[in-house]
């Protein structure tokens, strides 16, 4: 009926599981309760040490309340009187060890911290028990707190746990609540012995064993075997010996126990790394949230203000270059709206206004939207980690945005375009024509005033040529100026759009670097932790 080491779950993969657990710890540190991280670290450390120390040996501990007969059983199994059996409770206060050959259990026992050792001579040893290290623990339920601490320490380290109970104590809360119900992961390395069966009738023994099975099921240890025996009469001892020798022969108890430790800590970690709620896919920030964030940052960076300034500057240049030469000097009196923003100064801050509270509110809301979307369904501490990843750089955002904007390559809005040059020449020519008309008309006027003979003046249609020159030059100049303004307006809009696109690209980079990347990293951390946990579990 041995259920001991019956499952042999994944013990072969223990090293992989341990390294996966290590990965979980690395990824989840700071995102799960610190005591869990400590517990996982403890398991890793203990596993590393135990696997280095005669992993083929099987350390079996007899644990139980005071007076249940641990020492009697220890003596009966080892065929000796090593451990004192007493009537005064509690009796045993130091752990005793009995080592079966082929024994070099010294370092192992050093690690276990067990000083009182006995080696069974090769000649007397039952070969079936070779490789066994048997421990007689102090009790866990007497008034001696020191005993309880020692027992608890070793219960956490040994390979196989044999819980020795008796008809009086088998249902004690101290046993079930403090130990058995917390060791459900260790069911494959747990065995219960109902000692002092000689005090009960066979029927009563059967009833007690059945009752104990019921309690174990409630503890989550339904698979743990129960043996009824009597250390005093020796009844049932061969069965226990058989179970132990089978377990020793498998040489897998150490890995099995460590595996159970990993199970236990993985179970606890799984509680804090729960599946995202309602099965939603994780690790994505939707297109909508991203767009909202970028728009909010662009607004905060003053992109619309710059766009507008570029548009107006560009238009002002066109007007200055191609306007009617007689009036265009007026435009020069205005300051260049773009230069007023001091965007060209790469070292200092620009003169862009700081983001308005409304723009800031927009940024906060957009970042929050990203966080909410990203952390939907995440366990609470992870959601908090996502939030702080996204918001940690909120204070730097102003500067980051400003430097993104100032370092942008803005087109030189003052450089006169080729077509504008052409138009300017044309305007000059037209102005010259108009002026020539004026001069001619003046000359004619002077001639008329001096009452000289009229020089021959060619006519164009009903008008005289100088009049045509003057009116034509002026009107054409105005028309060209108007036309250029229309073209310039379109060009200005295009320039503004180009600048806007370039600025938005830069702002998007800021959004990525300061908000989206940190969030993505955090989500990846969660996914990595879950993935590692799956490999560890």
């Amino acid at each position: 009926m041995s259920g001991l080491l019956a499952t042999r779950r994944r013990t072969r993969e223990l090293p992989e599981r341990l390294s996966a657990l290590d990965a979980v710890v690395t990824a989840a540190e700071g995102r799960v309760r610190p005591e869990l991280v400590d517990a996982a670290r403890g398991v890793l450390e203990q596993a590393g040490q135990r696997m280095r120390l005669s992993p083929g040996s099987t350390v079996v501990a007899l644990a139980g309340g005071t007076g249940s007969g641990k020492s009697s059983l220890f003596n009966a199994l080892s065929g000796s009187a090593l451990s004192t059996v007493g009537v005064r409770r509690p009796t045993t206060s130091d752990t005793h060890a009995c080592v079966w050959p082929p024994a070099d259990a010294g370092p192992l026992l050093d690690w276990l911290g067990v000083a009182r050792r006995h080696v069974v001579p090769e000649a007397e040893a039952d070969p079936a028990l070779h490789g066994l290290v048997l421990l007689d623990l102090p009790d866990y339920d007497s008034t001696e707190a020191r005993h309880r601490r020692e027992a608890e320490r070793l219960v956490g380290m040994v390979d196989i746990l044999v819980w020795v109970v008796d008809p009086q104590k088998y249902a004690d809360a101290a046993l079930h609540e403090r130990y058995l119900s917390r060791l459900r992961a260790h069911r494959a390395v747990t065995l219960l012995v109902l000692n002092q069966a000689d005090l009960l009738t066979p029927d009563a023994v059967e009833a007690c064993v059945a009752d104990l099975h019921r309690l174990l099921k409630a503890d989550g240890l339904g698979a743990a075997p129960v043996l009824a025996l009597s250390a005093r009469t020796g009844a049932g001892l061969p069965e226990l010996r058989g179970v132990l020798s089978a377990a020793v022969a498998k040489r897998a108890a150490a890995t099995e126990r460590l595996s159970a430790d990993v199970d236990a800590v993985v179970d606890r970690l799984a509680g804090e790394l729960a599946e995202p709620a309602d099965g939603q896919a994780l690790g994505t920030v939707g297109r909508k949230e991203r767009a909202r964030l970028r728009e909010a940052l662009a607004l905060a960076a003053g992109v619309p203000v710059i766009e507008d300034a570029v548009r107006r500057a560009s238009l002002a240049r066109t007007v200055a270059a191609t306007g009617w030469p007689f009036t265009r000097w007026i435009g020069r009196l205005r300051r260049d709206p773009l230069r007023r923003l001091h965007l060209e100064a790469p070292a200092g801050r620009s003169s862009l206004p700081p983001p308005s509270p409304v723009a800031r509110a927009g940024v906060y809301g957009a970042v929050r939207g990203v966080v909410d979307a990203a952390s939907h369904g995440l366990p609470e501490p992870w959601a908090r980690a996502v939030a702080s990843a996204a918001q940690s750089s909120e204070a730097d955002l102003d500067d980051a945005l400003d430097s993104a904007v100032t370092s942008a390559d803005l087109p030189d809005t003052r450089r006169v375009r080729l077509w504008e040059r052409g138009v300017r020449l044309l305007q000059l020519a037209l102005a010259a024509v108009a002026l020539a008309g004026v001069a001619w008309l003046c000359a004619l006027f002077v001639v008329a005033w001096a009452q000289l003979p009229d020089p021959p003046t060619p006519d164009v249609g009903p008008l005289a040529l100088p009049t045509v020159l003057l009116l034509g030059g002026a009107l054409l100049g105005l028309a060209v100026a108007g036309l250029s303004r229309v073209v310039g307006r379109a060009a200005a809009r295009r320039a503004a759009r180009r600048v806007g696109a370039e600025l938005r690209r830069r702002v998007d980079d800021v959004a990525d670097a300061h908000v989206l990347e940190p969030v993505k990293d955090e989500l990846q951390r969660y996914v990595a932790a879950r993935e590692a946990l799956r490999r560890a579990g």
């Binding site: 005071t66 409770r89 008034t143 009086q168 004690d172 009833a207 309690l215 607004l299 509110a361």
Partner: protein, 578 residues
């Protein structure tokens, strides 16, 4: 049974005092899940239970039979001992642990009247079924037995240490109600930690205790008995009678007659000796009462902790909302709300002479509408209103969101906060769903109220009339612009960007309304908006503060005061009775 009302312990003032204490205990309310609150709640329950089960009934009828509770570990043989004492199997015993789930009380037939009613242990319904059959849990089986001497009743209690937690709780209740505790243990169990913690507690309140050490192997008798006696002495129980019952087997469920003879003899002697009985009663009762000031002190400490935690939670929620209110106020104050979208709209209006047109002609409004229809977008004046509205709304929403987030984080770190958040469900981390519509409504109401303000301000009848002649929209716009433009919170750059237009606007308004009036009006309108927005945020904060039970601190302090007062009065009565 001669010692009745003149018994010192029953001294006149004690009963009413204890009644008042009992009533005050019902008021003890510990709603916050603080560390240690469970222990305080349990203490309050235990105290009330002991008053109901034991102290009050004992004081009311000091002559009632002694209640002897047989208590101890499971399997120690408590039921077997009781059966052996009454020479009948009145309480089931068995090999399965634990056996006894419902207590069994054996009394002399003459004493039946003391126990059938709810005088003692009123919470346990009486059951008088087949003796020896397992009683239903939660009830008290009564057995009249001629083997029990009059003046004393024996109660077989459930165990104190098995996996069945209901047994442990019931046992604790029964032990607190005992005049005398007969602690039953065995050679295997006598050093167990659980019973010793109870013994220590009993010793601390100097309750009367007797010890029966059962199942002692004959060869171990002396060593074990001596060891146990030494342990008892160490815990201040050296005067407790110790009976050792040697392992002699159980026959028909009963122990050998001569094995239990010493215990029976002692009990009979006690029952027969009224003075000794009275001494036992006095000792346990005084011990219990003497502990009350300290126990009540623990309750008061627990209540104070609740009050402090409630206050800390309120403060933790108030702080981020106060900061949010400050930021909203600052944004209104320094005119920076006018930046961005609002500024652009403002420019559009002033820069294009829209404002003047808007103000100066009724025709303008008609034309506006035509233009709006042609261009497919609302007139600039309307756009400015919308921009302002959505600016204020966005600001308030974001600040409320931020404050909610911070308040949740602060509560999570506070004792008791996480559990309140849990109970409130999700959503507390964000601004409430109705905040957005509420903010919109608020801004609109504020705008609606602006005209009223102009009228009140009475900036010269003529000016008012002039402003009002622009119609509701126009006038609202005038004042709104005044509110945000007159603060001059814009940076030089922005003013330049706005090409000085806001200054132009300001001048225009001043010309219209008068310098002083504009300033006054703007200040008033701003204060109005601010108080409206502040009360919005206050509503948001109340989502948190309403979770902390109202008046927690005052009620707790009153109850603690009452408890302390009554306990002190009890102590005084006790001293004067001695």
């Amino acid at each position: 049974m001669s010692h009745s009302a003149d018994e010192p312990a029953a001294g006149g003032g004690l009963l009413p005092r204890l009644g008042a204490l009992r009533a005050a205990l019902d008021e003890v309310d510990l709603p916050l899940e603080l560390p240690g609150a469970d222990a305080v709640r349990a203490e309050a329950r235990a105290l009330a239970g002991q008053l109901d089960d034991y102290v009050l009934p004992r004081l009311r009828s000091i002559e009632a039979p002694l209640l002897v509770v047989v208590g101890g570990s499971t399997g120690a043989g408590k039921s077997t001992l009781l059966n052996s004492l009454v020479r009948a199997r009145v309480s089931a015993s068995g090999v399965l642990r634990p056996t006894t789930r419902a207590p069994v009380l054996a009394h002399a037939p003459a004493d039946a009247a003391w126990f059938t009613g709810p005088r003692v242990l009123p919470g346990l319904p009486r059951e008088t079924g087949q003796p020896g059959s397992p009683g239903s849990p939660g009830s008290l089986a009564l057995v009249a037995s001629p083997a029990v001497p009059a003046g004393l009743a024996l109660l077989d209690a459930p165990d104190i240490d098995s996996v069945v937690s209901a047994n442990r709780e019931l046992a604790a209740q029964l032990l607190a109600a005992a005049d005398l505790w007969v602690f039953v243990t065995t050679a295997a169990r006598y050093a167990d930690a659980v019973p010793w913690s109870l013994l220590r507690e009993a010793s601390g309140r100097s309750a009367a205790v007797a010890v029966v050490l059962d199942r002692v192997p004959p060869e171990a008798q002396q060593e074990v008995a001596e060891h146990l006696a030494a342990m008892l002495r160490d815990e201040g129980l050296g005067d407790a009678p110790l009976f050792v019952i040697a392992e002699g087997g159980v026959h028909d469920g009963l122990l050998d007659e001569d094995a239990v003879a010493p215990v029976r003899g002692w009990l009979h002697e006690l029952a027969g000796d009224a003075a000794a009985r009275a001494a036992v009663v006095r000792r346990t009762l005084h011990g219990a009462l003497a502990a009350y000031p300290e126990r009540v002190g623990r309750l008061a400490t627990g209540l104070a902790a609740q009050a402090a935690a409630g206050e800390a939670l309120q403060a933790a929620a108030a702080e981020p909302y106060a900061a949010a209110t400050d930021r909203v106020d600052a944004a209104l104050e320094d005119g920076s709300l006018l930046r961005g979208e609002v500024l652009a709209r403002w420019q559009e209006i002033v820069g294009t002479g829209e404002l003047l047109r808007h103000l100066e002609s009724r025709l303008g409004r008609v034309r506006d509408r035509v233009v709006a229809a042609v261009r497919g977008r609302p007139a600039p004046g309307e756009e400015l209103t919308v921009a302002l509205e959505s600016g204020v709304e966005a600001l308030v929403l974001a600040e409320a969101d931020r404050a909610a987030e911070q308040a949740v984080a602060a509560w999570r770190a506070q004792p008791g906060g996480a559990q309140l958040l849990e109970a409130a469900g999700p959503g507390l981390g964000h601004a409430s769903a109705q905040l957005r519509p509420a903010a919109q409504r608020t801004v609109r109401e504020w705008q609606g109220g602006l005209l009223e303000l102009v009228r009140e301000e009475g900036a010269g009848r003529k000016a008012t009339a002039r402003v009002l002649s622009y119609g509701v929209n126009g006038a609202g716009l005038v004042v709104m612009v005044a509110v945000f433009a007159s603060t001059g919170g814009l940076t030089g750059g922005e003013l330049l960007v706005a090409s000085g237009t806001s200054v132009v606007g300001q001048k225009l308004l001043e010309a219209l309304l008068g310098d002083e009036a504009v300033r006054r009006l703007a200040a008033k309108a701003r204060a109005d908006l601010r108080s409206r927005l502040d009360s919005l945020l206050e509503g948001e904060r109340e989502r948190f503060t309403a979770l902390v039970p109202e008046g927690l601190g005052e009620r707790g302090a009153t109850v603690a005061e009452r408890l302390r007062g009554e306990a002190a009065a009890v102590a005084r009565e006790l001293r004067s009775a001695r």
